[in-house]
């Protein structure tokens, strides 16, 4: 199961300049690819394009090729793509359907739209709740949950569609440290279960923890990419408007103070 972007560029309707240029990216089974970059670098646009929402729902013009397991998805309608690629946004409350009285119904919303049997919908819903370990919230009102819990419910709603790929656009942007912890644990658990994840984040600490590879965007182009440890330790990050993870910054500060970082270990 591979999601591939080949030479992809994208321009919003009415925009003078493209927001993405010549993006080559591959997302393989169980891989977590982190996307970093300053504001307006193109992170959200990349999520919209990778998920298929741009241009299908958002409008605009796209160039290049997007392949799902080698098949070109240009002609696929959004509902067909949404069964294969899930996308989550940064604001948990806007991702809830607003028509579900319980978390169970909220998570079941997607599978219900696809019209399978009732038993299948129920099984998929429990499966998604179990995967994120929020089955104990099943009977709670989704509007009355914390931001972190709502974000997990939103993710479970995507997982219930059994997508092979998840695209998460700054899923912890509006969460406190406890909520961020919940989402980080969920991403790690899902990747371990074979779901591939593309996650954009300003918080490079999260990327350092969950991502196997990191891509850095600037002005819509990929300017750095590679194993997360290497990219997040790259001195050019600061010029690109990306703050290094706290562990990297601590190590640099310790080194500048003339202390051997190895002495801090253990």
């Amino acid at each position: 199961m591979t999601l591939t972007l080949q030479g992809v560029g994208y321009r919003y309707a009415g925009a003078d300049q493209p927001s993405l240029l010549d993006i080559d990216l591959e997302l393989r089974d169980g891989e977590v690819v982190g996307v970093a970059g300053a504001s307006e670098a193109g992170k959200t646009t990349l999520c919209l394009v990778a998920s298929g929402l741009a241009p299908r729902t958002v409008g605009g013009r796209i160039r290049g090729t997007i392949l799902l397991d080698g098949e070109n998805v240009d002609a696929w309608p959004m509902h067909r793509l949404s069964g294969r690629i899930g996308i989550g946004f940064q604001n948990p409350s806007t991702q809830l359907s607003q028509v579900a009285g319980t978390v169970f119904e909220e998570v079941a919303f997607g599978p219900m739209n696809f019209g399978g049997t009732r038993d299948e919908v129920v099984a998929r819903t429990w499966e998604a709740l179990d995967a994120l370990r929020i089955d104990d919230l099943a009977e709670r009102d989704p509007q009355r949950l914390s931001g972190g819990q709502q974000q997990l419910v939103a993710m479970a709603g995507l997982l219930a569609l059994r997508p092979a790929h998840l695209v998460l656009d700054e899923p912890t942007a509006q969460l406190d440290p406890a909520g961020t912890r919940l989402v980080a644990d969920a991403i790690a658990a899902l990747a371990a279960d074979g779901v591939s994840i593309l996650v954009t984040e300003q918080k490079t600490d999260l990327l350092a923890e969950v991502a196997t590879r990191v891509v850095v965007l600037a002005e819509g182009r990929v300017v750095l990419q590679g194993p997360s440890a290497d990219v997040l330790d790259d001195a050019r990050l600061i010029e690109l408007g990306v703050s290094a993870p706290s562990a990297v910054r601590l190590r640099r500060a310790v080194t500048e103070a003339g202390i051997d970082p190895e002495r801090l270990r253990g």
């Binding site: 009285g101 129920v122 509007q143």
Partner: protein, 275 residues
């Protein structure tokens, strides 16, 4: 993702829909099919207008609003909410009819060029009872029917899920906007906005709150739309329903009976059979 996710001790196939979903309501009125309650509310509201005089609408309010509300245990809430709902229009309708009733002769009160008449007062009371019947019927439906139940029931009957979704989401949006307004009010007050004191100060204080509430809601629409698209909402064809509110032959007959009775009433009034 099939077969990849970590499962809990009980397999998903072994567990059904949680018991709280579709649980019967606490009273016989709550347990009525949502369409039956919607029909009852509609017939009550229209009949209140169609019925002439004062006695008919009063009996209607007593039997179709007050009695069911008492059975459902929501009489106090109904009284409070329906009065709140009806008050602005009731006051204006009352004043206009009392003071400006055409052809009124029995003068009760004279304020400058304006005259209140007994005929106007009588007509104003009739209007008030009708307004209360309409607001009471709507409020009773709202208090005894979760919006999602009506949507599920309509969807089961073949109504487009989009129509149901729009109606339901609109109702659900109100509390969300109230919460947002409270957050913005608190944030603006923390920055020195004065929302207390004279009426003019309060009015001035509303402006910096209303703007962000409305603009914020509009800005969220696109993200909500995308979130729905990403979950297959635009897919053509019927959706799967987890449950549907129970219905019966008796309730079906009751609905048709109410509609036929309403039609008969309207025809009788229009043709003069019932003066």
């Amino acid at each position: 993702m099939a077969g990849r996710v970590r499962l809990s001790d009980a397999s998903p196939e072994a567990r059904g829909v949680p018991t709280s979903i579709g649980r019967p309501g606490p009273s016989p009125v709550h347990r009525l099919n949502p369409l039956t309650k919607a029909t009852l509310a509609t017939v009550t509201a229209i009949s209140a207008v169609a019925l002439g005089g004062l006695a008919g609408p009063l009996i209607l309010v007593a039997t179709a609003v007050v009695l069911p509300a008492a059975i459902a245990g929501v009489l106090r809430r109904l009284a409070r909410l329906s009065l709140l709902l009806a008050l602005p229009i009731a006051i204006s309708a009352f004043l206009v009819n009392v003071f400006f009733f055409p052809g009124g002769e029995q003068v009760l009160l004279r304020i400058g060029p304006i005259t209140a008449t007994a005929e106007g007062l009588g007509f104003a009371i009739q209007i008030l009872v009708r307004i209360l019947a309409i607001s009471g019927a709507i409020t009773l439906f709202y208090l005894t029917t979760p919006p999602a139940d009506l949507v599920v029931d309509l969807e089961r009957r073949g109504v487009s899920p989009r129509i149901g979704f729009v109606a339901n989401a609109s109702v659900q949006t109100v509390p969300a906007m109230v919460e947002r307004a409270m957050q913005i009010t608190a944030a603006q007050r923390a920055r020195g906005l004065d929302t207390e004191g004279s009426l003019w100060r309060r009015v001035r204080g509303i402006v910096p709150i209303v703007g962000p509430v409305i603009l914020g809601s509009i800005a969220e629409v696109e993200e909500r739309t995308m979130a729905l698209e990403a979950r297959g909402f635009a897919r053509p064809g019927r959706r799967t329903l987890l449950w549907s509110p129970p219905d019966s032959v008796f309730q079906s007959a009751l609905r048709w009976g109410l509609l036929v009775a309403l039609l008969a009433l309207i025809v009788a009034r229009m043709t003069g059979v019932w003066a």
